[in-house]
Amino acid sequence: MIDLFDKHQSSVERHARMLQAGADAVGLTSAKLLSPTRAIINGRETVLAGTNNYMGITFDPDCIAAGKQALDAFGTGTTGSRIANGTYGLHRELESELADFLGRQHCIVFTTGYQANLGMMAGLAGPKDTIFLDADSHSSIYDGCTLSGASLVRFRHNDAADLDKRLARHDPQAGGRLVVLEGIYSMIGDRAPLAEFIEVKHKHGFQLLVDEAHSFGVLGPNGRGLADEAGLEADVDFVVGTFSKSVGAIGGFGAGDHPMFNAIRYNSRPYMFTASPSPSSVATSLAAVRKLKAEPQRRHRLAANSRRLFDGFHSLGLETCCDTVSPVIAVKCPDEPSTIGMWNALLEAGVYVNIALPPGTPNRQCLLRCSVSAAHTQADIDRIIELFGDVVASGAKMLDAGQEKMAQRA
């Protein structure tokens, strides 16, 4: 008999090496949350700089009150799918609020952000269609594409000319064509060059979906995401987003203006065969979306905080992965052992960031990834910069010096 776990041997060994170096990066536990930007981790008060809590809205008193009220009124869970007993007035109200926020005719709420991508890809594309996806797409996009059964063509990251070339090779009569982009790419924080892609859209003809998971609430004069910032919403057919970032809850959505959009509700397994999001989560999301609309100062503060961290890192001589400022700021590190070492040193000094290692990163880079929050104070941002100076900038210098010594010896 072949043990099913045999195939996991190498990842188990890799994990064990990580544990030898310090904390468990994939099993870190926050014992207590003090605020959107503070937690007790390993007994220490820690500044959170890797939580995607862009608006810092998770402890907003109005959102919490709305959640408590929904718990009292609707109970702890819906115990049913959207297509059975799991659609409450609250779910409809959230869909309508989001459609209004996005300026779209239709919106469908899913139970998680991951499922929103699964549900939209599988609801839009079928086995006779082709999905063209950016090479750096999030795993939920890859998995949704696989679930759809469509033919999957991967194009080079942010390269509209590469997409153009691939579309030119494709027979437009062979089936529907869906192109998938992201507003802000989660690992390194760069944006899709939307205008260039829309030029290709006008040339070849396809339907376009933009996943605004990291840009919803963050970019654009209305906080609707990259297409809002670029003034190109009319050329984007479908928008996907999540509640687990700027909205501070859990869930996700798909939106669009297609007259048959609601057909996704009964043609998408990730929508049909899972319980609907819990009443409290829907209620806090609804309150949060209203806040995003009423309080644009949150995203202005986020932009200022992001700029401060970006400039601070650059003044330390650190190399970030992206030249454009966004709330995702990833610092390039030399290799896996030193990245693990620096991540642990930062954690012990009291700041949590994400550690990102291949194959989960573009171009096999090792990264320390920060995500900025509107709830960070200037002092928080300065503390993060200071600790990156102590740990990462000086660590890199030590490494350089070490390598020079090695070279001299050789």
């Binding site: 090479a135 999957l152 991967r154 080079r156 691939r166 090779r169 291949p358 096999r364």
Partner: protein
């Protein structure tokens, strides 16, 4: 293998060089991901180089059933024939 498949094998071997950091000898039955110990993203990146060289598309679903060097040679031959 035919002369054309020999040529494709040689070209694939050349394109695979930057990804074959352990310098594993490539044979028709070499499993690209397993024997060369390269992750799934690197395999997709290598296939992009192949697509560019031959001006073809190899959809990811086709790649899912492509394991060995000779599997990939057959896929490339088939895609070139499709034009």
């Amino acid at each position: 293998m035919t002369s054309s498949s020999n040529e494709i094998f040689a070209k694939l071997s050349e394109l695979l060089m930057p990804f074959n950091s352990n310098g594993i000898e490539l044979k028709p039955d070499t499993e690209i991901s397993v024997d060369l110990d390269i992750d799934s993203v690197s395999v997709m990146d290598f296939v992009m180089e192949v697509e560019d060289h031959y001006n073809i598309d190899i959809p990811l679903n086709v790649l899912a059933d492509t394991h060995t060097m000779s599997d990939l040679v057959k896929v490339v031959e088939g895609r070139i024939a499709q034009g």
